[in-house]
Homo-oligomer: 172 residues x 2
């Protein structure tokens, strides 16, 4: 890719990253707010920024480098496009039926009970805000990735040891 | 137990529960704030109140009745006692080593990598606030319960189907 200095994303990242070239959840929140990514939606919560970092934190450092930041940005762009398809009036709310369609549009084939769990977990007064939609999408991706890495035979089931189970599920 | 009207907890609960006798995460947040449970610590975040409800939400209603509220209150009391043992100066921060000791004191036997995952996920500038400590304790309890229900032979391992895995881990 282009050297960082010529990458338009570099400006947002380097402004908060400091000497170590890594950002923590509070710095990520500031970076995404400064970039105007959320547009007219509420800025991302610290909680959502934490799971964003955890999703790509392969070395368990709790921080994010520039390459991971670009990977995150690409994923966020995709999720924003999907969310805005259903939030036609840009009020920042989608409902349960629209969440089900979004999740299907992201390529997941989940049963109705799983969709219900997502809805119960992420709704405020029956609606899903953009911030919560992204938190949901991040966790769904990370948990699916963790599951697939352990289901190499692709049988739709996998076995966990206790500590491994906690590490996979509590990191996100 | 005593009829609700004679229970000292009933006042806090009934003030927010309304006609249906159930509270949602925003009502729980208000209830716990009104009760002064957190003392000089920051009031619980909405995110932490969401996982508190999810921990005891056996019918996936997304809400909490009075019996569950009392069960939650008892758990919260226990966690507050443990947290305050290590936060001697009541500044509202404990560090990584203290978190490890707290988790052990709660009866969990986790390996160092799992403790590290908890610390990375829940710290702010290397410290764990009371709010985040409770969120961590709630999720640790709920995930351990889910694991144990599926590990009936108590071998420290269990097998999940994909949707079941997501339901267990995304609800909390």
């Amino acid at each position: 890719g282009a050297p960082p200095a010529q990458d338009p994303m570099w400006g947002y990242f380097s402004a908060v990253a400091g000497q170590d070239g890594q950002i923590d959840p509070m710095e990520l929140q500031q970076c995404l707010t400064n970039s105007g990514f959320s547009g007219t939606y509420q800025p991302f919560s610290l909680e959502t920024c934490r799971v964003m970092i955890a999703m790509l934190d392969r070395d368990f450092s709790g921080k994010m480098g520039f390459n991971e930041f670009k990977e995150l940005w690409a994923a966020l762009n995709g999720w924003r496009t999907i969310y805005m398809q259903y939030d036609m009036d840009r009020t920042g709310f989608i409902n349960a039926q629209e969440l089900a369609t979004c999740v299907h549009g992201m390529g997941y084939n989940l049963n109705p009970q799983t969709i219900n769990v997502l809805m119960k977990r992420y709704n405020k007064n029956g609606q899903i805000t953009f911030d919560d939609f992204v938190a949901c999408a991040v966790r769904l991706r990370a948990l699916t990735d963790a599951f697939r890495r352990r289901d190499q035979a692709q049988q739709g089931m996998c076995t966990f040891q206790y500590d491994d189970f906690l590490q996979c599920t509590l990191c996100i």
